[in-house]
């Protein structure tokens, strides 16, 4: 029975890990089928068919975990067989649906854009893709790879694997630059004219090391962006130089600072004398042209895996296998545990079978690196003839002209020796590029950059592993068929279910456990990019102090990204949100609406439900009828707050600034009149009509600067209320300042102002979370209610009409604009927006894309 032999007997046998279970099969050929079937039948008839089916799919504490996914044909076969055997109705098991729904094209485009370019696409672009066909989506994704931000994705993804940026931290290559590069040496170390002492320019050396670190990443980016076969990352007969290295390497080129171009390194000197380092006598040295082999000959790559007299480039070989062929040499064969083998010191890597299993492959490729010394400098030994260590050169094994160890396998790759000794690395690279594993190796290399995980790892279930292996081979074949161009491979991955998988389909009865697709936690760099692109505000802490705490790497002590959210990582998110939200809101509301990124539908005084302030200027001294309207939702305790005042002295003679309030009328939505009469008499009659008339005399009701009429109209009807006032100014240009607002704001009011407000909230959710919601949706109303709660918090705190408060920071650079202007928050709306933005940024949907 194929199912038993293929899936069960590895553990369920007499000496297997399930030897104590109730089902023990016998491993072997087809002749054992009947016996094994009898074992299964006996168990099922005495115990339970359901128990078998549950265990096989990983339930009931099955020690072997999930062996078969319910969607697997073998599982379905087993369910049918056991159903027939037991007479039970197991059709549900045999018909398990685990289909998948994919996210929409615009959701895929949005996520891909952030990961690949650091940008969130505009709403217009996303809406264009809403119903896009696969072909259109594929083309659009391909266009993303032409964006400027794509280069940083390539470099970051490559460094995640190669860790070449470690040279910036360790500065391991500094000594080699000093000792072997005369131009560097001259610029780095000079004699101070005053003290006559030697001084070192570490600003210069750091800049050079930065170019050295970036060179292999720039090389990969150059190959990818120019659609060259990806094999060129290891076969390239050039390096990449920028402003300083172009000079140090004597290229004759003058790239601009920050720009990298291909070049050949002819700037290193090798000794022609008895000392290894030319620095001691540059006249006893000569230039050399480095035999480049793409990334493999880059100093930043070589110093990441420094060699020693005993290591002999084996680390470089091991990691070349890992990075470019996806082969983990350490796990490629059973490791010996024999103590004698492990302590054998009679050249065991050549002679001891326990060691040669791996070293037969490891050591020839190590030999291909023969010309590069301890930290990657070419022929760094005396007379510039080789890179062999001192102890070996003094041994009896060494012969003049040797460049490799005679007690090691000859340089090459797998079974093929490299013919040209001086170009052994380049030749090995050519062989690696032709190896069929190069394609799978490339897929393994780039998978984590998109998916935040390794494509294959030890914690996958058997079913997941098989599915991922199938995917790996598919993508590798696709890559090879597209002339090893990386861009089409990336697009193919983005178009796949692995990236676009959103959820089990509606009819699914179980989650398709083989799929691990969909959104993933953003890295510190991606979170930084998202906030910067959406808001224009940068949080450098994400790239520096908090980077490691949010799962980032420094290429030295932290070399693997943490992809699973921990509580402390959530605190980093909160810190990011809390510290930047005020800057974001202040920046937005201090720009004209047309220049804003986020708050394009509201102003700082806009609130849910109508509320406004207005100034009535009197152009004549005759009495005027003024009318104001406001729609209000009636809820218990609801009032309309109406204030008519003057706060500004218009006339130089205060007496002339007087405005007399004559008749007042308040009309309900149904047209009935609540009150009507002389303002002063109504003031005396109703306790909800208040204020401070001039001279404390209500009749006539006069107001001048700082006098006011304040009314809290009790509301018992929903709809549009009207306030009518007949007023007369003493002189022209007198003014009346009116503010009108409901005392209790409602999140789901139906008036136009409220709908517009919620449209703004929905727009924010779309930008920050990628969800397109109706302004009437539950989530939008929830956030609107949050806004109201936050606004009320601000009002209750009684901390004034400003965005800032005592002991509450706001790191906004106003560029000289007075605080009274940029922080003005008369409606307490900016304070609420600030916290609402922080809430959006601290949400699950912000940090997973």
């Amino acid at each position: 029975m194929d199912v038993v032999q293929k899936y069960c007997v590895a553990c369920h046998k007499a000496n297997g890990t399930a030897k104590n279970s109730d089902i023990i099969f016998t491993r072997g050929d087809a002749s054992l089928e009947a016996a094994n079937l009898a074992v299964l039948n006996t168990f099922v008839l005495n115990e339970s068919a359901v128990r078998v089916l549950n265990k096989v799919k990983g339930l009931d504490s099955h020690g072997g975990g999930e062996v078969l996914a319910p969607s697997n044909e073998a599982y379905i076969w087993l369910a049918n067989y056991l159903g027939d055997l037991s007479g039970q109705n197991l059709t549900a098991y045999a018909q398990v649906k685990t289909t998948l729904t994919l996210e929409s094209p615009e959701a895929t485009y949005r996520r891909a854009s952030l990961l690949l370019t650091g940008k969130i696409p505009s709403t217009q672009k996303l809406s264009q893709l809403r119903q896009a066909s696969d072909d259109t989506l594929r083309k659009s994704l391909g266009d993303l790879l032409e964006e400027p931000g794509f280069k940083e994705f390539i470099k970051r993804g490559a460094n995640d694997q190669l860790l070449v940026r470690s040279v910036l931290v360790t500065k391991n290559y500094l000594d080699d630059l000093i000792f072997y590069y005369p131009i560097f040496n001259q610029k780095f170390q000079s004699i101070d004219p005053v003290t006559q002492l030697e001084k070192s320019d570490y600003v210069y050396s750091d800049a050079v090391l930065n170019e050295v670190a970036e060179a292999p990443l720039e090389l990969i980016a150059h190959v990818v962006q120019n659609n060259l076969p990806y094999t060129e990352v290891i076969t390239a007969p050039y390096t990449m130089v920028s402003e300083k290295t172009a000079e140090i390497y004597k290229t004759g080129l003058t790239p601009a600072p920050g720009a990298f171009v291909p070049a050949i390194n002819r700037g290193q000197h090798i000794s022609t004398g008895p000392r290894a380092q030319p620095k001691y006598d540059w006249t006893a040295s000569q230039e050399v042209e480095i035999p480049h082999a793409g990334v493999l000959s880059e100093p930043a790559f070589l110093q990441q895996y420094p060699t020693t007299a005993t290591n002999r480039n084996r680390a470089r070989s091991r990691w070349t296998y890992q990075h470019f062929l996806g082969v983990d040499i350490e796990n490629s064969a059973a490791r010996t545990i024999d103590s004698a083998a492990l302590t054998d010191n009679d050249n065991p890597t050549m002679n001891n079978p326990a060691c040669t299993a791996c070293h037969i492959r490891l050591d020839p490729l190590a030999g291909a690196f023969q010309h590069f010394g301890e930290r990657g400098t070419f022929h760094d030994q005396p007379r510039g003839l080789n890179a062999l260590d001192d102890g070996y050169r003094r041994s009896k094994l060494f012969k003049a002209g040797d460049t490799w160890y005679r007690d090691m396998r000859l340089p090459g790759f797998e079974q093929v020796l490299t013919a040209d000794p001086l170009n052994s690395l380049h030749q090995a690279a050519e062989l690696i590029a032709k190896d069929p594993r190069f394609a799978t190796g490339t897929v393994k290399f780039w998978w984590p950059a998109l998916f935040g995980e390794s494509i294959l790892d030890d914690n996958l279930s058997s079913a997941q592993y098989d599915a991922k292996l199938t995917a790996l081979n598919h993508f590798a074949d696709y890559f090879a068929a597209n002339n090893f161009a990386l861009k089409p491979l990336l697009v193919e991955m983005l178009m796949s279910d692995w990236f676009r998988g959103k959820a089990p389909s509606a009819e699914a009865t179980e989650s398709p456990a083989t799929y691990t697709g969909g959104k993933r936690l953003l890295t510190p760099e991606e979170l930084y990019n998202k906030t910067l692109d959406l808001t224009g505000v940068a949080d450098a802490n994400l790239l520096k102090g908090f980077k490691l705490s949010f799962g980032g790497i420094d290429s030295v002590s932290a070399t693997k990204r943490q992809r699973d959210l921990s509580h402390i990582m959530l605190r980093v998110v909160e810190r990011h949100a809390l510290s930047k939200s005020c800057t974001i809101v202040a920046t937005e509301f201090n720009k004209p609406k047309e220049e804003r990124k986020l708050f394009t539908l509201v102003e700082r005084q806009t609130l849910p439900t109508s509320a406004y302030q207005t100034i009535e200027v009197f152009e004549q001294t005759s009495a005027r009828d003024l009318t104001w309207s406001i729609p209000v939702v009636a809820v218990p305790g609801q009032k309309i707050n109406f204030v008519a005042t003057q706060t500004k002295l218009v006339q130089t003679d205060a007496v002339l600034d007087t405005v007399t309030l004559n008749q007042l009328q308040i009309i309900k939505p149904d047209g009935s009149v609540l009150v009507s009469g002389a303002t002063g008499e109504l003031y005396n009659q109703y306790d909800w009509i208040n204020g401070n008339p001039l001279g404390n005399r209500a009749v006539p009701f006069n107001i001048r600067r700082y006098n006011a009429l304040r009314i809290d109209i009790p509301v018992d009807q929903s709809g549009t209320w009207q306030i009518k006032l007949n007023a007369k100014a003493q002189t022209i240009k007198n003014q009346l300042e009116i503010s009108l607002a409901p005392s209790i704001l409602i999140a789901d009011a139906s008036d136009a102002v409220s709908q517009n407000f919620r449209a703004q909230v929905a727009a924010l959710i779309e930008r920050f979370h990628g969800k397109t919601l109706s302004p009437e949706s539950e989530e939008v109303i929830r956030y609107t209610n949050l806004f109201l709660q936050l606004r009320q918090n601000k009002v209750d705190r009684k901390t004034g009409n400003s965005l800032t408060e005592t002991n509450v920071a706001c790191d906004y650079n106003s560029n000289g604009v007075p605080w009274s202007q940029w922080a003005a928050d008369p409606a307490a709306s900016l304070s609420a927006w600030r916290t609402l933005v922080a809430a959006l940024m601290a949400d699950y949907n912000y940090i997973y894309e």
């Binding site: 020693t308 398709p512 691990t516 936050l790 601290a842």
Partner: protein, 427 residues
């Protein structure tokens, strides 16, 4: 391609915790009731030279020089513990011999770094096995905010999401405080409470949501666990952290990480930590570089106990010090020492009956001697000690041996050997 180890992905991932019936953000709840053992593993990363540390070797006639220090100095002893008079070893051994169980002659069964780290820090040779620190954190994680803290790298088998310790992590202890120790905040407290309430609402709605893809479900679980972690301990964290002094010891990146971890232990935020100290892979200039690395290690170990005393948790701490493997009992041509399968492990606890002892033995040329598992004496018919034996004891001692996660990652030890319920030493 080899068949992968079969793990229940859905069963083991999800960081399952016992949920309160009405979950809420625990801002003001009482700190965790966990009063059990706290565990720290100090990794001497790269393979350490124990012949210059806890298994000291003098040079032998007609043999290659094992140690240059042995040409002018003699092996020293603190209590029952022999040590090499190198660097600051004397301070470490003299101050803490009474807390130590030294296990010598441990065969790591490999000379490869990855395999060596795997075996020595997990007790298992199976790829994907978790460090003991992760097992301990998993077994005792009742909604802790930082169950496992890691400086460097660790292996968790997805049992817990580790907290990565970094230089600036202290600033994240109170995200709403602009500068630690000062009053200025980013938001008013009532506004912050509103955000936290929304986070809790979101976490609950995600958790109660529909059927998800496996990865999405794991992410939802992680977010939920992060939102509802017991954070009460953060209230006193900053004050406690800032109150600690370094005494006579040096402050560096390792001591900062240890200080953070121990403060977290004290305030009920975590129970386990893995601290990696680098510099031990001394293929060249061993005497200089190896001594520097040992000094970093002993300084870290000494300050660990110094902080623990100040915090009042020294009685609950169990410390292990281990490495990938050992280093050759001879120098190479670059004045370095290469990989050597035999090494040691040191276990530490205060006031334990099993301390001030040495178990296991190596020859004068640093090869392991077989040990009788019952008497712990050298016995040619005995067994070679391996990391699995160490972890067999540690798992039992920490109370995690019967945990389902431990059962899934069984140890390879075929023989049971008890180090911790004995007072015997290897003669």
């Amino acid at each position: 391609m080899k068949r992968r180890s079969l793990l229940s992905y859905l069963g083991l991932t999800g960081l399952g915790i016992a949920l309160p019936s009405v979950p809420c953000r625990v801002w003001a709840a009482q700190s965790t009731a966990y009063k059990g053992l706290l565990y720290i593993n100090l990794q001497a990363s790269g393979g350490w030279d124990v012949t210059s540390f806890c298994d000291p070797k003098m040079n032998q006639p007609n043999e290659k020089i094992i140690n240059n220090w042995a040409t002018t100095a003699e092996i020293q002893k603190a209590g029952n513990i022999a040590y090499a008079p190198v660097g600051n070893n004397a301070r470490f051994f003299k101050q803490h011999f009474d807390k130590m169980l030294v296990i010598n002659g441990i065969n790591s069964r490999t000379n490869a770094h990855v395999a060596g780290r795997l075996y020595n820090h997990t007790g298992s040779q199976k790829n994907g096995a978790p460090h003991l620190s992760a097992l301990h954190a998993y077994a005792n994680n009742k909604g802790l905010a930082m169950p496992l803290m890691v400086f460097g790298d660790s292996a968790t088998a997805n049992l817990v999401a580790p907290t990565k310790l970094s230089r600036d992590i202290f600033q994240i202890v109170e995200p709403n405080v602009r500068t630690p120790g000062q009053a200025t905040q980013w938001l008013a407290n009532d506004d912050l409470a509103a955000i936290n309430a929304l986070q809790a609402e979101r976490a609950n709605s995600l958790k109660d949501g529909k059927l998800q893809l496996a990865k999405q479900q794991q992410q939802i679980n992680e977010y939920y666990d992060s939102v509802f972690a017991d954070t009460d301990g953060f209230k006193n964290f900053s004050g406690l952290y800032l109150s600690l002094n370094e005494g006579e010891y040096s402050k560096d990146i390792y001591t900062d990480a240890i200080k953070f971890a121990l403060t977290a232990f004290t305030t009920g935020l975590g129970v386990s930590a893995d601290i990696s100290i680098s510099g031990f892979d001394t293929h060249d200039e061993h005497d200089v570089r190896g001594t520097k690395a040992l000094d970093d290690l002993t300084n870290a170990a000494c300050i660990l106990w110094h902080y623990a005393e100040q915090l009042g948790i020294s009685d609950r701490l169990v410390v292990s010090i281990a490495s990938d493997f050992g280093r050759t009992p001879y120098y190479n041509d670059g004045r370095g020492k290469d990989h050597w399968t035999y090494g040691s492990t040191i276990l530490m606890q205060k006031n334990a009956a099993w301390t001030n002892r040495v178990i296991g033995k190596t020859t004068e040329l640093h090869k392991a001697l077989k040990i009788n598992p019952q008497t712990l004496q050298v016995d040619p018919n005995g067994i070679e000690l391996e990391p699995s034996h160490v972890h067999q004891n540690l798992r039992s001692y920490l109370g995690v041996a019967a945990n389902p996660a431990a059962m899934r990652f069984k140890l390879d030890a075929n023989t049971s050997i008890d180090f911790l319920n004995s007072t015997a030493q290897t003669a």
